[in-house]
Amino acid sequence: MSHKPTGSAYFLEETKVASESHTISVLVDNEPGVLARIIGLFSGRGYNIDSLTVSETEHEKHLSRITVVTKGTPMVLAQIKNQLDRMVPVHSVHDLTAGGDPLERELALVKVAGTGEKRIEALRLAEIFRANVIDASTEHFVFEMTGRSPKIEQFIAIMTKLGLVEVSRTGIAGLARGPQGMIDKTAGQSS
């Protein structure tokens, strides 16, 4: 017997619409607990977080920018944006993906241990991928590389065969293309 998916209380339509991955930029007041609010919203309402980065970007105004990569149907994505937008410390929400091919970069630190041929091969491939060596001994390298997530995935996949020990990734930082910045809907209002 096939079960229809259920919502909190009633049958919801089966999702025929495909999920899309979107990168969303959220400008927030850098106050205690603000990240917990954002994460709590996602977990509490059952939304996905594929990647999340956060850092204060305007120190004088105490503004942080959160970049979150999430997946959902267009209806769910619209919900996510509206739910974020109505939170009290949120200045603005900007769907970078909806605005067209955004700039997305990620930084990864990749530790590879090994000797002999494998070690030489790792270094050679790192050069091809434009990864920098930031720590080394006779038995290991730590590479630093920046790029779009698929490139990092590819590099890690190759290094797996060459003595990969561990990886640390920042998650995606993103900006929209073009001369404009993200509009702070609350800036300059006087009412």
């Binding site: 209380a9 009633y10 919900q79 009290v88 410390p89 949120v90």
Partner: protein
Amino acid sequence: MARTMTGAEIVLKALADQGVEHLFGYPGGAVLPIYDEIFQQDKVKHILVRQEGGALHAAEGYARSTGKVGVCLVTSGPGATNAVTGLADALMDSIPLVCITGQVPTHLIGNDAFQECDTVGITRPCTKHNWLVRSVDDLARVLHEAFYVAQTGRPGPVVVDIPKDVQFASGLYVGPRDIKHKTYRPRTHGEPGAIAAAVKLMASGKRPILYTGGGVINSGPKATKLLRELQKLTDFPVTSTLMGLGAYPASGKAWLGMLGMHGTAEANMAMHGCDVMINIGARFDDRITGRIDAFSPGSRKIHVDIDPSSINKNVRVDIPIVGDVAHVLEEMIAVWKREGYSTDKVALKNWWGQIDKWRALKCLRYKPNSDIIMPQYAIKRLYAATRDRDTYITTEVGQHQMWAAQFFHFDEPNRWMTSGGLGTMGYGLPAAIGVQLAHPKATVVDIAGDASILMNIQEMSTAVQYALPVKVMILNNQYMGMVRQWQQLLHGNRMSESYTESMPDFVKLAEAYGGVGIRCDKPSDLDGAIKEMLAVKGRPVLFDCRVAQLANCFPMIPSGKAHNDMLFGEDVSADEIDKAIGKEGKMLV
């Protein structure tokens, strides 16, 4: 003028400046400095409840019946955790509350100190916003912001957590006028293009319906007035959610009754069959829509809501309008008049003809009984006895709540206080206390169930202390009636734990608290007992109204069914009840 004072003084000064007259609370170690300050002033009257949960519901009743912000004060740890249910309740029903919680001193935060809990962490998902005030210099600003956030946009509860050392510390006080919130500016005016399109669609409607909700009441008396004006202008039928009762008068000729799971046939059938639906301040809650893929399949939908996240959450709408109900209705009426729109009179006449056929089903009928009080009859008689009074009704949660919504008729907003979204048993008595404090001369009745009333019965003591003549009419059927009804519908009539084996003697219980107890179990004595209850002055009453034990609340849209698939009252056979809900429906709540 900024002036230096202690944190505790700042709290009381801020409350007074915000126009707060009543503060519902319970003292404890982490709020003693504030209580000391309460002792030394007389602007804000403190109402001592018997459990913090009661303070929250009392503040909710106060807020909902006045349109003002309800204010509570509780201590750290258990005080704050007891407040959580009321916060979640207020969040679901969009009730503006400011709840001040004490916290252990800042240097002990995170130390597992006595009566410490992570109040902002615990209350984050059940408040609109919350603050932990670590510096006394932020205190006045945060308190004023808290009032602003609680009542602006879609109203909701907020928490201000104040460590004890901050209450003792000295800082600058700033008044409410000097505060402007950095980010929070919800949109109140609807987009003109959307309003114009909506009005045009309304004028084209052949089978239109106004579906109104709590947003009309939250928007204030002006919204109610405008809703009535719009109805008059269009002659559209009106139905409402549980939270919106009273916005359009139940005595109005266009009133179809409440819609949804226990709504009337005419309301639900009209929702199902309409071609233009105008949702004003409601949120397509699952109690309303029933099966979502069969919800009003042939209609184009307009949705007015101040909260953008309510739009397209459950039901996809054709014309969303984000804005405050009063503003949007005002614009709609202006556009209607300016453009000289009129309705399709012939189509509307046919539509009303159809609606009258559904009305003729008399879906709220029940089998009268001359030996046993039928619960529906009890509410009818209560309504008859109080309709000419200045009456406010609160309820608990369950069958009695639905019967009250069906059989008590509201002609004005803010008269009906009930826990709709969260469905909190134990809401009614403390809420009635809040209402009575705000309206000392009014008749305030908590229509209760025998199980619900025991959840916050301790608040009888509060009512006695403040000489509040709150009337609690307990429709006592010895069961958790709605649980039992669902067990009958869904679980082969196996009444697992839904019968109360040892019911207290409510008459003696009332007397033990210092109130008045009344009991009645005969239909012939009912009017006399209600009269006796209403005559009590200066003390609360528990009226133990013994009603039919196994009455079911109908009509009912069973879980997972559509609006045109209702179960009706007296015709339902045991066999139909057995088959009413399919296997899949049983998983639903």
